[in-house]
Subunit: 358 residues, 2 copies
């Protein structure tokens, strides 16, 4: 990756300058509503689209099936990561990689539950190539079910079953900060709760607790970044730590990291060297201090950002209410103002990553 | 659905006329290679794209999780069907619904293992809207994992574990008719076996044996057809029976059925009335008679097609070698000549479905 330079406001870690710049961005978004409507309704011009896998390895198993029609023994591939991409005509140089969170898939970034445009399409319409992944062992990336059949056949004890879990609507409601408890909402919250059924439709079982550390998605993200010759890794929630772990493996071609409400930031007391090599934005929404789950995570991420800047890095943490954007939930890519948040992220990328890398 | 009329060749069930018409189509494809190259390299103009779910229902479970961070009890949604769509500018009236087979997901129709264009994109470039599904409990459509945790916690016996299986490379090789046994190939076979690793990457565990009959995908397909106000259901392999089962539930808005190597056709001795209501194409590739698995299925589908026509229907079965197209495997949407097969299907749809429905 070429040596990058950062503007003065970022070098200073000057919170005031950041707030001013982003407040200007938000104000500007109002004045460009007509432009956005035009952008969203005109045809998309796609140069290329498709999909592929990164990572994965073959394993032999004798418990692939308990059915007569399919052999129990043989080779299967596991831990690969599905990637779907779209490249617009005249794409900007740096593609964006979208990495979903817990109990979700790449669907996260597509049409919102109430039928509005998702970030995957909006980013493409704004000229960015997007690479949308399904985490290893989730969605279109195969899970390893050998242990299930092994237990079914009495070859292994039930304790060997994978730690696979599904997030219930009621619990997700609170974790996603739609309100204090299901089905109450926080005043002014922006998630389209009237369309919640379509969010519940997109939740899938999560196998991550059965996977090694780092999650196989992590080395796959590093491989993807290198394959693309540079990308901004945009994570969400559970996957928040993955781009940092990928950078710890190899900073090559990780041009920037945008962490949307990461479930975990790297420890402020750890080796921060990898994280000084690229601009980092950590973004949190509203109601965070009302959440016993999220308040300490925000605090830990603040400590990480401060420590990274102290170590010579270029990290920012933005709490949306601090810049005048209110009501955002943990699912901000699906909130009613999701495209305002998208614009804010793109503006940050253009300023701190894109312009430097071109 | 409006009353449809069928051309004389189809009314007669005249195999000779069908062979002549399709042979002409194949010959024509050679003369339009330049057109195809232009079509494939120019930008795609997409009016709209996105995704949604059809079907699904809520269940309560007390075994959603064995992990402290996620509640064991609550509501989850299962049996919903993920649908991703693309609508080109000036789309033809009838969209195509692409329904993958065993151990696969909607990825089936995307970029081929060796990196060529898949049918999903090609159909859109040819002017057809496409709706690509992930079968219920597969890919981006949630599986129900309650029983796994119930057994893990000792609340249910191991025999209650779901019948989930993974197809091994070695077995799939033979089932997909790449050759007589792994890794031998049939002479002249068209699958890009040098890129087989990317096919193995796209295979996922299959939960269908744990699902009720009909598979929840079946009523979801009927709902999708009605939501779209008409569609051609294009199935593959395991899903081959689903469009027929959907038609048996309700023929409304199932404008046509294209069954790519169906694992099962409806019984020729059963009530064929629903299948007389729409044009049907059943397509098989090469080497079928060399396969103990596929030869009887072809025979049964021939009997179904004959019986449907006898009952006043408009069904056709095409064995590709019979019209001069050789070497196709069970994965013909990924074979080297996949776009020739796509053109053949589109020609059939335009002649027997599209022109009648517009």
């Amino acid at each position: 990756m070429p040596m990058v330079k950062f503007p003065m406001a970022i070098r200073l870690g000057a919170a005031a300058a950041v707030v001013m710049a982003l407040a200007a961005c938000v104000a500007q978004s109002t004045s460009t509503d007509t432009d956005r409507t035009a952008l969203m309704t005109q045809p998309m011009s796609i140069a290329k689209q498709g999909s592929f896998f990164v990572g994965g390895h073959d394993i032999h198993s004798d418990t692939l099936s308990t059915l007569p029609n399919y052999a129990a023994s043989g080779t299967v591939t596991v831990d690969q990561m599905y990637v779907h991409y779209q490249i617009p005509v005249d794409a900007k140089r740096l593609p964006l990689t979208l990495i979903h969170g817990c109990c979700l898939t790449g669907k996260t970034w597509e049409t919102t539950p109430d039928g509005r445009m998702g970030w995957d399409e909006y980013f493409v319409r704004k000229g960015y190539s997007t690479y949308v992944i399904d985490q290893s062992e989730r969605g279109r990336s195969a899970a390893n079910i050998s242990e299930i059949n092994s237990v079914k056949e009495g070859k292994s004890p039930p304790s060997q079953l994978p730690n696979v879990f599904a997030a219930a609507h009621e619990g997700a409601w609170t974790i996603f900060r739609f309100g204090p408890e299901y089905p109450k909402t926080w005043p002014g919250e922006q998630f389209p709760v009237e369309a919640q059924a379509e969010l519940w439709n997109q939740m899938v079982p999560d196998w991550s607790a059965s996977l090694p550390t780092p999650n196989p998605t992590v080395p796959a993200l590093s491989k993807l970044a290198i394959r693309l010759g540079g990308t901004v890794l945009i994570s969400h929630s559970q996957s928040g730590i993955y781009p940092f772990q990928a950078a710890a493996l190899n900073t090559q071609d990780i041009a920037g990291i945008v962490a949307i409400e990461p479930g975990e930031c790297p420890a402020a007391s750890g080796d921060l060297t990898p994280y000084t090599k690229m601009p980092i934005l950590v973004l949190f929404g509203d109601y965070v201090d009302l959440s016993a789950r999220w308040a300490p995570r925000l605090k830990a991420c603040r400590a990480f950002v401060d420590a990274t800047n102290h170590a010579g890095g270029h990290a920012q943490l933005i709490l949306l209410p601090d810049i005048g954007i209110h009501g955002n939930t943990h699912m901000m890519m699906q909130d009613r103002n999701n495209l305002d948040i998208a614009d804010l992220i793109l503006k940050w990328i253009d300023t701190h990553v894109g312009a430097k890398a071109s």
